[in-house]
Symmetry: C2
Subunit: 284 residues, 2 copies
C-alpha cells in the first residue's frame, strides 16, 4: 500500500508514523508546499520520499489530505480530478459542512471518504508529529453514504490498524459536536491567555506562581492561528452558539458572586463535577 | 522534628509524604475531623499516627494547617492560642487577605508563617495525596515581616527540603495573583463543563469525540466545591475583576466572529500565543 500525505504537520506526520510502523503502509510519499517541512519530515523519517502533488497522486492507493481547512477547500476538488476509480482520497479536517457542499456534485465524490480523527496537541508542523497520537482515540466518518463502500472499507481498515474506534456522523452534526468538544476549548483557552497576559503588563512576576492548573487550561492557547482561524471561520455559526452559552455560564457565575449567593454557586460546581463521568478518572 | 498536619487531604497528605520521605520530619501526626480521612491516611502511611488537635499541638515543632480556607478562619486563632514561643504554625491556603486581618493582632502572630505552595490537582482527600506534587514548584511566603525570623527560617528550610523555590508577597498582592493564575482557571473550567453538559442533554454521544484538548481545559471542573467555594468567597472581589476581563475577552472574540473580522481574530490568537514564553514548551 502506497500512501501520499499532503500537508506533513502534526496530524499528517503523526498518521505517517503510525501507518508506517504498523505496516499498513509500505511506502509514504510526502507533499508539502513548505520546503522546510518536507526536509524536516524526511530527516525525521515521517515520509519515505518527497514528490510534487502531480507525481504523488498517480503513484498512490490512498491520498490523505492533512492541510489547514482553508487550503483543503481548493485542494480536494483538484485531487479528486486527478484520481482514477481505484484510488481513495481521505481528509482529516476539523470542519465538514462547507467541504461537503463543495464536492457534493463532484464526479469523483464516491472516491472521497471524509474523516476527522479526534486527537491533537497544541503544537504544529512536522516537528510536532509524534508516535501513538491517535492510539485508541476516536475518528469520525462523515456522510459515508456518499462514498463508495470499498473506499469506506479501506479507510476503516486504515484507522482500525492504528487502532482507532470509528463513529459515523452527518457533516452538520459533526460540526456542532466539534464546536462543543474541541473548538470552544481552544477559544476559551485563547481568551484566558489574553486575560492573564493583559494583567501581566501591570504586574511583574505574575507567572512565577502559575501551577499545573493554569498550564492545563491555557495550554491550547499556544495553538497556531494558521490552523485555527480557518476552522473558526468555517464553523462560525456553531461556534457562536457555543460561545454564547459559555459566556452565559460565566455571566451566571458573575451574578452569583455579585449577589454573594454561594449556596447556588456550590450547586453549580456540583453540576460541573458531572463532567467526571465523561472524562473518567477518580473523583475525590 | 515532629510535624502535625491538620487536614490530611491532597495538600496536607502530599506534604506529609514529601517531608517524611526526605527526612525533614521524623514523625508526622495527623488530625482530621473526618474519621474516614484519618483511616485512609494511616493505611496509606501519609501519617505516622492520629491524635486529637489538643494532643497533637503540644507534641509538635511545626503545625501545618491544611484545611479548606473557611475552616481555617476558625482554626488558626485557636491553634495560635495553644502554642508556646518555640512552636511554628504554618498554613497552606489559597487566599490570604481575610486570614491576615483575622490574626493581625493575635498575641502569637509571630509564631504564624503564612504560606501557599502553588501546586495541586483536580482531586481531593487523602486518596488524592501523591509523592512529588510539590517538587520544584513555587511556594509563596506572605507578610513575613509579621513572623518571627526563626519561624520564617524553619519554614524556608521545610520548603527548600522538598525542594521548592520561595517568593515573598504581601497578602493583597498574593490574592490578586492567585485570582489570575489559579482561581480564574478553575472558574473557566467549571463554566466550560456546564456549557458542554447543557448541550449533552439534547444530544447523545457528544463526548465520544472529546479528545485531549477538551480534557485539558475541563479537567479542573472535577475539583471539589468544598475546597473552591470558600476560596471564591474569600477572594470574591479579585475574582470578579478577573472574571470581568475574561468575559470581555470572550465578548471581543464573539464580536469578531459576528463581523467576520478574521484578520483581527488572527492577530488576537497571535497575541494569545505569547503565553508560550510563560508556559515554556516548544512552539510550532
Amino acid at each position: 500500500m502506497t500512501i501520499t500525505i499532503v500537508g506533513i504537520g502534526l496530524i499528517g506526520g503523526s498518521l505517517g508514523i503510525s501507518l508506517k510502523e504498523n505496516g499498513f503502509a509500505k511506502r509514504i510519499i510526502g507533499v508539502d508546499v513548505v520546503k522546510e517541512h518536507v526536509d524536516k519530515a524526511l530527516r525525521r523519517r515521517l515520509i519515505d520520499e518527497e514528490m510534487s502533488l502531480e507525481q504523488a497522486v498517480p503513484a498512490s492507493d490512498i491520498i490523505i489530505l492533512a492541510t489547514p481547512v482553508d487550503v483543503l477547500l481548493g485542494l480536494l476538488p483538484k485531487v479528486l480530478d486527478m484520481v482514477d476509480n481505484e484510488q481513495v482520497v481521505m481528509d482529516v479536517s476539523s470542519t465538514k459542512g462547507r467541504l461537503h457542499e463543495l464536492v457534493a456534485n463532484h464526479p469523483k465524490r464516491a472516491n472521497f471518504v471524509s474523516t476527522h480523527p479526534m486527537a491533537g496537541t497544541e503544537f504544529s508542523g512536522p516537528e510536532a508529529a509524534i508516535p501513538n497520537l491517535f492510539d485508541h482515540k476516536c475518528s469520525v466518518l462523515c456522510e459515508v453514504s456518499k462514498s463508495a463502500p470499498k473506499a469506506v472499507k479501506l479507510v476503516r481498515e486504515l484507522y482500525e490498524s492504528i487502532p482507532m474506534s470509528l463513529v459515523q456522523l452527518e457533516p452538520e452534526a459533526h460540526d456542532v459536536h466539534a464546536a462543543y468538544v474541541s473548538h470552544i476549548s481552544h477559544l476559551s483557552s485563547f481568551a484566558l491567555a489574553l486575560t492573564v497576559l493583559e494583567k501581566e503588563r501591570d504586574e511583574d512576576r505574575i507567572f512565577e506562581l502559575a501551577s499545573g492548573g493554569f498550564s492545563s487550561t491555557v495550554r491550547l492557547a499556544k495553538s497556531s492561528p494558521d490552523m485555527w482561524v480557518p476552522i473558526f471561520r468555517q464553523n462560525r455559526d456553531n461556534l457562536l452558539d457555543v460561545l454564547d452559552e459559555h459566556i452565559n455560564q460565566l455571566a451566571a457565575f458573575r451574578s452569583l458572586l455579585i449577589k454573594k449567593d454561594f449556596d447556588t454557586f456550590y450547586k453549580k460546581i456540583e453540576g460541573a463535577n458531572e463532567i467526571r463521568r465523561v472524562l473518567g478518572g477518580a473523583s475525590g
